[in-house]
Symmetry: C2
Subunit: 86 residues, 2 copies
Amino acid sequence: MDIRQIEYFLSIVETGSFSAAADEHYISQSSLSKKIIALEKELGVPLFDRSKRKVFLTDAGEVFLEHARKIHLAHKAMIFDVAGSK
Amino acid sequence: MDIRQIEYFLSIVETGSFSAAADEHYISQSSLSKKIIALEKELGVPLFDRSKRKVFLTDAGEVFLEHARKIHLAHKAMIFDVAGSK
DNA sequence: TCAAATTACGGTCGACGTAAGGATC
DNA sequence: GATCCTTACGTCGACCGTAATTTGA
C-alpha cells in the first residue's frame, strides 16, 4: 500500500468522483481507477459502490476512511518533522 | 512512500542490519538497500549512518523512527478493522 | 445521449535478483 | 579474509496515457 493511494482515496471521498480526484492529482482517470481497484484487491474488500452516478462508500470504505485520515495526517507530520531535523 | 518501506526501515532498526532485515522480508539485500536509498532520497535526508559495521540512525532517522512506528501501528489497525468489516 | 468508470493496448519506466565492487572489522 | 552495503547489469513486471467499451442518469 502506497501513501498516494490513501491520498487518492481521500480525494475521491471529498469530491465524490474518480474523475475530479484524478484532475486534482494530475493523473488520468484510468490510472486512478486502476490504483483504487488495486487497493481494494489488496484489502480484499470493495471501498466504493459505483452503481450510482455519484460514488458512495461501502461499509468497509467507511472504516477505511477513518484510518486513512489518521495515516494521512501522520504522514504529513512525518514529512514535516523529518525535514525540520535536517 | 510505501508502507513496506516503513516496515523495512523498522526491521533494520530492530536488527541493526540491512541483510538481516532483508532476510526477514524475503527480498535480496540489494533490493532492500535500494528501497532505503529511495526513501532517503524522497525525504531529502539520510536515515542511517553506514560508516560503521553496525548501522546507526542519524538524527533525521530518529525522528523518522517515531513517526514510522505510529504509522506502522495505524496501518496494522487499518488492515484489521477493514478486514473485520467485511 | 452525456458523463463517468472500467478494460484493452502499447510503450516506457521502475523493481527485482545475481554478481561484482568497495569498505569495515 | 569475512561480512555487509552499494553499484552494475539484464530481465521482467508494473504503471502510465490514449482510446474503446460499458453503464447509469
